[in-house]
């Protein structure tokens, strides 16, 4: 937790230097922001090939908009908002929505029953992971984004709201609906 707080501080400082024109701070921004941003890109895209496009495009846009960064803002949330905006644009343009059967479910959602679990239990967990992934990609984008940000990225409803441009209540509602859809899908598969 402390590491993440330290990283956030270092990232803010690097971003502020970069916004002021210090180009050398960019590598540090990439080092501190990259892993978390790439994880989000993978979650948003759900395929092995596309996240790199989204990741790269997000960094391009972040670089282009560097002077508009407001000191004191949360760099991670800012970058997440840009990534999501790029992703939504791509969906609108009709690409970056991979066919359902291409989801590398186990890689994206590493839900395995455990080291000592039976092969059947591991198989079930993998099936559920695949089902979760599939259901996530069938739900409306705002619900999926809200679910990913709060459940996978660990953002609070308020933070997710700031990234998605929605109220806290709207985020809670979207997450609740997403959870209902996931529950229904899993229960449906078990019947």
């Amino acid at each position: 937790m402390n590491d993440r707080a330290d990283d956030t501080l270092a990232l803010s400082s690097a971003m502020e230097r970069f916004a002021r024109g210090d180009a050398s701070a960019f590598a540090e921004i990439y080092r501190l922001l990259g892993p978390r941003l790439f994880l989000l890109c993978r979650r948003l895209c759900g395929s092995a090939a596309d996240p790199q496009d989204l990741f790269q495009e997000t960094f391009f846009k972040l670089h282009r908009a560097r002077a508009t960064f407001v000191e004191g803002s949360n760099v991670v949330h800012w970058a997440f908002a840009i990534a999501r905006s790029v992703h939504v644009d791509a969906i609108r343009r009709g690409r970056r929505r991979p066919a359902l059967e291409t989801f590398p479910a186990i890689e994206t959602f590493p839900m395995v029953a455990g080291e000592f679990a039976s092969p059947e239990a591991n198989f079930d967990a993998a099936e559920i992971a695949r089902l979760v992934e599939k259901t996530l990609f069938e739900m409306p984008e705002p619900q999926r984004a809200a679910f990913i940000l709060t459940r996978e990225e660990g953002l609070s409803a308020a933070e997710a709201g700031s990234v998605l441009g929605a109220s806290e209540t709207a985020i809670r509602l979207r997450v609740m609906r997403a959870r209902d859809m996931l529950r229904a899908a899993i229960e449906g598969a078990r019947l």
């Binding site: 590598a27 990741f55 908002a81 308020a158 700031s162």
Partner: protein, 218 residues
């Protein structure tokens, strides 16, 4: 500095890190906003000075001060709301919504509910649709300049709710236009005020909502 993000190819990583070599200094958002605000205020002043209302000196000072002060406060609040929400993320979306949808009704309430007239009554009565159209055109032109300045200031700065931000920028520019028209047009006719001074705010806000996302999106 060695940087590796698991899952990202060397090629993509190299392309991203190469961006640092192409990072010329840019004008900061704060400076851009200060310049845009100056343009908005300047346009308002020029619009008024070019053709101030003929009964300006005969108007009751208190009523003029109150109504002008109220309109100036609305205009300032709308621009400040837009500037305050410049972080692009955060609860500022609520402020934007308020500016986008609240400015025109508020301005209508202040101007149309108690129109300014001299003690002897209105000095000129609206001659109908042509007057209203003239006011509408003047206000659209003045507010359009303001909207353009604000859009340029926010160019590539917005990653959340760009359409709403465009509408809010339009409404803020429109509020200054409304202030200018208040000091320019002597017509006390509520219908004229609504058609010529308030509707343009909605028009400019709609233009902002339509054009804004293309310009302001990061």
């Amino acid at each position: 500095m060695s940087v590796r993000v698991p899952g990202v190819s060397d090629e993509v990583e190299r392309r991203i890190l190469d961006l640092a070599q192409h990072s010329p200094p840019q004008m900061r958002l704060g400076t851009r906003l200060a310049l845009a605000s100056a343009v908005v205020v300047g346009t308002t002043i020029v619009t008024v000075l070019a053709h101030p209302r003929p009964d300006l000196r005969q108007l009751p000072v208190a009523a003029l001060a109150v109504s002008t002060g109220a309109l100036a406060a609305i205009a300032l609040a709308s621009v400040l709301g837009v500037i305050w929400s410049r972080r692009s993320t955060g609860p500022s979306v609520r402020a934007l919504r308020l500016v986008a949808f609240g400015t025109a009704p508020l301005l209508a309430l202040v101007t149309a509910s108690r129109p300014l007239t001299t003690a002897d009554g209105p000095t000129s009565l609206s001659s109908g649709i042509l007057d209203a159209l003239a006011c509408l055109a003047t206000m659209c032109a003045a507010s359009g300049v303001g909207l353009l300045a604000l859009l340029i200031a926010f160019r590539r700065a917005v990653s959340v709710a760009p359409q709403l931000r465009g509408a809010a920028l339009g409404a803020a520019a429109g509020a200054f236009g409304g202030l200018a028209m208040h000091l320019r047009c002597p017509s006390p006719d509520p219908v004229h005020i609504l058609a010529g001074h308030v509707v343009p705010i909605a028009i400019i806000a709609t233009i902002g909502a339509l054009v804004g996302p293309r310009v302001v999106r990061a």
